[in-house]
Amino acid sequence: MKTGHPETNDGVKKIHPLYFNIMKRRYWWFALSLLVLIPGVISLLMQGLNLGIDFKGGSMLDITFNKPVTQAAISDTMKSVGLEGPVQLSNGDTSALIRTEALEEEKRNELLKALQTNVGELDKDSLRDDKVGPAMGQELTRNALWALLIATVLMIGYITIRFQFVFAISAILALLHDVLVVVGVFSLFQWEIDSTFVAAVLTVFGYSINDTVIIFDRIRENEGKMKRADSYEDMMDKSVWQTMRRSINTSLTVLIALLSIFILGGESTKLFSLAMLIGVFTGSYSSLFIASPILLEMKKRMKKLRRGGKAVRV
């Protein structure tokens, strides 16, 4: 059965009215990414991440009162039982988010009792109360990092077997780019990260690699059909554009699903879905504009090496 791709570059251009040469402008995309990456990385080095109690330990109480309350009343009450920490009000000042050191049960009950008498009646059924010992937080990070590292090595192995080693490295670099963008943006804005952030980063990890491999598959297919005179650059540009509809449609559907969670999902999932939104958007972007251009750069360099440093037309 013939499963050919008769489309030439002209064919691709005809289907996509907005066609522009992605590969030729690859340094633009690299620059654009660096524009986001560099501030993120600097911020990561300078101020780090705003780690929630999941990572550094502590207690966090999310309390809903029956009436609006004031920040001062809560802070004073905390002081009266010998505690301090930031208080954040929301929901028309009826919800208070209190962060403090890791509390023993007795201390926690003392605090709740004091809040009940001094600040106002609280709704026990809507209480959220997290306590994490410092050792546990480190474990979460360490476990996640190990798992990611091992997954990365295995994925490089698989892509190398099914494609080529350069494909694997390009895909992983694009993946690293996506994760760095998400982590960098969260550092830049000092949004607090908790254990669900790890899940969000994992989602980005899974999505980004999947999205990239789909495009690489088309490059692999077209690479096999290349004629001697064909330029690698044009072939890759064609491949990216051939899969463009799919790339756009898929990321649109996923982004809309995430957007509805972001808007309708409530406070507890806000930052979680935001991290995924940024990550999936970046993942879709990098599959088109980062992963394939990196692959092109590597292919070009390899070819030069193979020809003994002599520049060739690719």
């Binding site: 499963t3 997954a151 989602t203 598959d217 969670i261 995924m276």
Partner: protein, 410 residues
């Protein structure tokens, strides 16, 4: 041929509709349906860390086992539907998950008590230890109020008889470590090993004390190193919001697929129902606990399921544009798209499996839902979607390609 295919398609639609209709109730049943994590219905997650013994002796596997058994006993008294108590021998920890517990405060109160039970005379001397107590039960008193009924072992009964004989008219304190639990007065010598502590206002109070006395002391002292407590209504609120958000997301995807891909879009939406049904039943079958990160994994897998369809249809469009007939386009589009998808999905599956194997808690929940989702996506894609599309293009060879979203003129 033509009529046969239409009948098959109609029968399939009806079958799926019936399956969806019949599945809703058992899947969302609060008792036997899909398990929800505590972030979605309230509850407590506790990690108890065994503290090193003061005298420096190492904590043995046996200690942890004993502690686990005692904690399990206490947990069972709380009446939670599916409590999870796991021991981590490497780190000397016990992990407790009580999703759906009605009074999390009380649960924590009972579980955190790791103390040693003793009976003491008014001077504070220990006269009897918890080991001698065989059973303790809360119940209705003979006169009024509620009581805790104590049963001692035969040896304990003898000791208790001696003590109560000595202490008639005095108080006999019941202590957990150094905290006084209750301080009853000895009315008469009790020689048969059956004692009754009176004076409880409610049955619940009596039962709580009974649990603490009965489960005795833990072999090692344990502290709470992690606690996550979510109020019931907060959990329900999160669940409702997630469902609501998911629903709107799905509706958009349905509309989008229909508008963009016409007939295949309808097939994709139809397949998505089948996909969702299979995934949810797998969750149900393997007692997968659904949490917020788990839902994220599920959404990602839905995205991939839709992606599989999009890849196939774009490929079919390409093949048709290249001059193939609808039927040949569907066949070659499918086989080519499958190669594309298999590599992408295997790569992601590798990530999911690694994360499941090496991860903990939230990471595992995410990896599991993602992994199940990927496998089911491939399965429904190559069996269900493909067959349905074959039947559709088999209806008539003169079907208009624009129904497949292809513009012939370009």
């Amino acid at each position: 041929m033509r009529r046969g295919n239409i009948i098959k398609l109609v029968a399939l639609v009806l079958l799926v509709a019936v399956a969806v209709g019949l599945s809703i109730k058992p899947l969302v049943d609060p008792e036997k349906g899909i398990l929800l994590g505590l972030d979605l219905r309230g509850g407590v997650h506790l990690v108890l860390q065994a503290e090193p013994n003061e005298d420096g002796t190492p904590i043995t596997r046996d200690d942890i086992d004993k502690a686990k058994a005692i904690i399990e006993k206490r947990v069972n008294d709380l009446g939670v539907s599916e409590p999870i108590v796991q021991a981590d021998y490497n780190k000397n920890r016990i992990v407790i998950d009580l999703a759906g517990v009605t009074d999390p405060d009380k649960a924590v109160d009972i579980l955190k008590t790791t103390a040693k039970l003793t009976f003491r005379d008014p001077q504070g001397n220990i006269v009897l230890e918890g080991d001698d107590l065989k059973d303790a039960k809360g119940g209705q008193g003979q006169q009024q109020g509620y009581v805790v009924n104590l049963t001692f072992s035969s040896e304990g009964a003898k000791k208790f008889g001696d003590i109560t004989t000595q202490l008639v008219g005095q108080r006999l304190g019941v202590y957990l470590d150094d905290d006084l639990l209750t301080n009853p007065t000895v009315n008469t010598p009790i020689l048969n090993g059956q004692a009754e502590i009176t004076g409880y206002g409610t049955l619940e109070d009596a039962a709580n004390h009974a649990v603490l006395m009965r489960s005795g002391s833990l072999p090692v002292s344990m502290s709470i190193s992690e606690k996550r407590q979510v109020g019931a209504s907060l959990g329900v609120d999160s669940l409702n919001r997630s469902i609501n958000a998911g629903l709107y997301g799905l509706i958009f995807i349905f509309v989008f697929m229909l508008a963009f891909y016409r007939i295949p879009g309808a097939v994709a939406n139809f397949s998505l129902f089948v996909y969702g049904l299979i995934v949810l039943w797998i969750f149900w079958m393997f007692r997968v606990v659904l949490t917020l990160p788990g839902i994220a994994g599920f959404i990602l897998s839905v995205g991939m399921a839709v992606d599989f369809n999009i890849i196939i249809y774009e490929r079919i469009k390409e093949e048709i544009r290249a001059g193939k007939s609808l039927r040949a386009g569907v066949e070659s589009g499918f086989s080519r798209a499958f190669i594309t998808v298999i590599d992408a999905h295997v790569t992601t599956l590798i990530a999911a499996l690694t994360l499941f194997y090496f991860g903990t808690g939230a990471i595992q929940g995410f990896a599991l839902t993602l992994g199940v989702g990927i496998v089911v996506t491939l399965f429904t894609g190559i069996t269900f979607t493909r067959q349905v599309l074959r039947w559709i293009v088999g209806i008539s060879p003169k079907m208009n390609p624009t129904w497949f979203g292809v513009r012939r003129d370009v």
